[in-house]
């Protein structure tokens, strides 16, 4: 057990932090922050920023050397994710975490050669097409069809809750290729160019203030070469790399930032009311939150340490994500309470506290409770895959 960063790891953290501070100045923040977007930044800025991450070598730094990566340990990736979250930087999503690792693990040689170099440079944006109107928790019941037609497959169907589909270059799409076989069997995975004829993206405003998307596929002809893995083996692909996304999502930075922000608020000497921090009840609440945040931080780096030592954590990844997101929600709720009458004031309002961020996140983070597994599904996964309880 080594509780502190090594000198090299600490230097890397400083380097990333300096990079983020340099790139995300108050002026940049003012110009490109966009609460109407799921990622909280404009799509153009997100794409440009992802290219900068690529140019700085941050996207591929943990990839194996054979794919042009830097071969750095997962502890460095965890540090990178931590800092990205803490600074609420754009672009830390499936396009640089989940999809490239899935392609490395499961893609064809041609897919790797074509896509990985572009992805390491941050040039590609992706959406992941799993959920459908009638296939959520029960993902294996998905209905989008892919019908073989010579060198192509013809895809027809609808994907829903499709994060960032409006800015995606490619879709990572789960389809049903064998309608006669039962659920998990008979699925196949495709990489779909979003400019192909027959792809349309529709909008749904969310209660968080940003717009979510659905994607319709109407007889979209996709070359066979864009199938990932073997025919009817799509479930393996879905499962194969999902832990990587959860690991990336379990970064410690968000929770650390949420806590620090509330602490800063409580230290403010408010006219006539003094400091919140001088109230023993507030101290107790901050202490309790600090313990939970420390637990989430340790879990995140524990997971990275396991990877760095060559273990292959699986359900532990789900557990770490659950701990992080539950802690984030606790901090959201505590924020409402600590802000008192200022809690409902929105970003841009006169007298908005903490620039309205607490209110934004209280709404935004609601999706933590149901997305990418969600709290209850994650408990099912931990109980069955982790603890061996019968299904």
């Amino acid at each position: 057990m080594e509780l502190k960063l090594t000198a090299d790891e600490a230097a890397f953290r400083t380097e990333v932090r300096d990079f983020l501070k340099r790139e995300l100045t108050p002026e940049v923040w003012q110009a490109h922050r966009d609460l109407n977007e799921q990622g909280m930044w404009t799509p153009d800025f997100t794409k440009a920023f992802r290219r900068k991450l690529g140019a700085a070598g941050y996207i591929g730094m943990g990839w194996p050397k054979e794919y042009g990566g830097g071969g750095r340990s997962r502890v460095y990736q965890a540090i990178f994710w931590d800092e990205m979250e803490y600074h609420r930087a754009p672009g830390l999503d499936r396009s640089i975490t989940y999809v490239p690792n899935a392609i490395m693990a499961l893609g064809s040689a041609a897919q790797k050669a074509d896509l990985l170099p572009k992805m390491s440079r941050g040039e590609l944006s992706w959406f992941v097409g799993y959920s459908e109107p009638d296939a959520g928790s029960d993902l294996a019941s998905l209905k989008t069809r892919a019908v073989e037609d010579g060198d192509h497959f013809v895809i027809t169907g609808q994907k829903s809750f499709s994060s960032d589909a409006h800015m995606a270059d490619y879709g990572w799409i789960a389809t049903r290729t064998d309608p006669t076989s039962s659920k998990h069997r008979g699925l196949s995975m495709f990489i779909v160019d979003m400019t192909l004829p027959g792809v349309t993206v529709t909008k749904y405003p969310t209660l968080a203030g940003w717009t979510h998307h659905a994607v319709h596929f109407d007889q979209v002809r996709v070359p066979r070469s864009m199938m990932v893995g073997e025919l009817h083996q799509g479930w393996k692909v879905v499962m194969g790399a999902i832990d990587f996304e959860r690991a990336a999502l379990s970064g410690a930075g968000l929770v650390g930032y949420q806590f620090d922000r509330l602490l800063a608020w409580c230290m403010q000497d408010r006219e006539g009311a003094g400091r919140k921090l001088d109230d023993p009840l507030v101290q107790d609440e901050l202490v309790r939150l600090a313990i939970e945040a420390e637990g989430a931080r340790l879990m995140s780096y524990w997971l990275a340490s396991l990877h760095a030592k060559g273990f292959k954590p699986q359900h532990e990844t789900s557990l770490a994500l659950l701990v992080k997101r539950e802690t984030a929600r606790r901090l959201d709720v505590a924020g409402l309470e600590l802000l008192g009458p200022f809690a409902p004031l929105r970003t841009g309002s006169p007298w908005a506290a903490l620039e309205g961020e607490v209110e934004v996140e209280y709404r935004d983070h609601l999706y933590f409770q149901f997305a990418a597994g969600g709290f209850d599904i994650t408990r099912n996964v931990v109980a069955t895959r982790g603890l061996g309880l019968p299904r």
């Binding site: 509780l3 108050p26 502890v75 620090d260 602490l263 202490v287 209850d376 109980a383």
Partner: protein, 392 residues
């Protein structure tokens, strides 16, 4: 950074657990709870032979120079197997206190015999006030003749009945921390012991010092200089009890999982119901978070870092979460585990005792609140981030 234990530590934990789980039957553990000393002397000797009693002592005193994290892994295993032992009184309290503050002669006299399993020692610190603050100490240590006279009442003295000596904390001057430690032999005139009946199987005692006299060489450390050593003892105890609570939680979860997989109701194992699964997932979540906090606390103290923040976080978390875990374990078991012949009750009781030892959750949250007010940098764990104050 590496938030995992290494292969040697893993092996130590596995070995300790394998031994502890075979050392005593549940029936023998229950029987020991009714005995004066509360532990099995033969088992303690075996533990000493395996090197655990002296693990954290330097080699010159018969130890192996292991760190506090190694000791934490041992008490985690003992907690998981519910094996009572004098490891807290003799090693965590008296032994490390003597290593920390004792004279060369005291170290040479006691530490090798502790490491060999030949000497049981303990400390007497807490008083009827019940807290861990220096201002609560009313026991007086006054010079008399060639030595000192001790007067006062001490509570929660571990293994006093079996100890050859009790290291007693007393007031030697007017200042709040003008405190001194002296070794009082158990058979010293004027020392009266009374066993407390406590949940959890530990042998806890009241010790009344009524003009107990000791020689000048009984003093441990500098006169008036005891408090920093005692404060470290409390931190050590709290970090290790956190690890023990993790062991208690692990055992409770293991029993619950095995019951849930085999107990059939409505023609299926109850573990297939999501109501039960979600309870188990939450128990596991709290257990793993607690484990990392406990390991971090022991490792920080073992590396000679302040460790105060880390220990307070660990003990505050485990003291709430692990007793809660035992309550959920009982809820899932239902009536069967309410009977004393089912082993879950051992952990239910031990959790009561362990959450109270070396400061309960409230004590440690108060310590963290003090850090929050007085040392923000430490409170934030020397975080690399500046506080985001641009908008306040």
């Amino acid at each position: 950074m590496d938030i995992t234990i290494d292969d040697d530590q893993r092996l130590l934990r596995d070995t300790a657990l394998a031994f502890a789980q075979k050392a005593l039957t549940p029936a023998r553990i229950r029987e020991l709870e009714t005995t004066e000393h509360g532990f099995d002397a033969k088992v303690w000797r075996q533990m000493a032979e395996m090197g655990w009693a002296g693990a954290v002592f330097p080699e010159e005193y018969g130890g192996s120079g292991a760190g506090l994290l190694e000791l934490a892994l041992i008490v985690e295993a003992l907690g998981q197997a519910a094996v009572p032992s004098p490891i807290y009184s003799t090693v965590v309290e008296a032994g490390l206190l003597l290593l920390d503050a004792g004279s060369p002669a005291q170290r040479e006299n006691y530490l090798p015999r502790i490491a060999a399993g030949d000497a049981i020692m303990t400390t007497a610190i807490t008083e009827p006030g019940g807290g861990l603050a220096p201002g609560e100490i009313r026991t007086n240590i006054t010079p008399a003749g060639n030595g000192f006279t001790v007067n006062g009442t001490k509570l929660f003295v571990r293994d006093a009945g079996a100890a050859e000596g009790i290291i007693c904390l007393g007031r030697s001057g007017k200042g709040e921390t003008d405190l001194t430690l002296v070794i009082v032999p158990r058979d010293a005139p004027g020392l009266k012991l009374r066993r407390l009946q406590a949940a959890g199987g530990e042998s806890l005692w009241e010790a009344i010092f009524d003009n107990a006299t000791v020689d000048a060489d009984a003093i441990v450390g500098e006169p008036g200089g005891a408090w920093p050593h005692v404060a470290r003892l409390h931190l050590r105890g709290a970090a290790l009890k956190s690890a023990e609570l993790v062991g208690i939680g692990q055992a409770s979860l293991d029993l619950t999982l095995s019951y849930s997989k085999t107990r059939i109701q409505f023609e299926r194992p109850i573990g297939s119901f999501q109501g039960v699964q979600h309870h188990c997932a939450e128990m596991y979540r709290d257990l793993e978070v607690s484990r990392l906090l406990a390991w971090q606390a022991a490792a920080s103290l073992g590396e000679g870092l302040a460790g105060d923040r880390e220990t307070a976080m660990a003990k505050a978390k485990t003291s709430e979460a692990m007793p809660a875990l035992t309550r959920t374990a009982h809820q899932i078991h239902g009536a069967i585990a309410y009977y004393r012949d089912y082993p879950l009750e051992l952990y239910y009781h031990r959790a009561i005792a362990a959450q109270a030892a070396y400061g309960d959750a409230g004590h440690h949250r108060r310590a963290l609140a003090r850090l929050l007010r007085e040392d923000l940098g430490r409170f934030r764990g020397d975080s690399p981030h500046d506080l985001p104050v641009h908008y306040v």
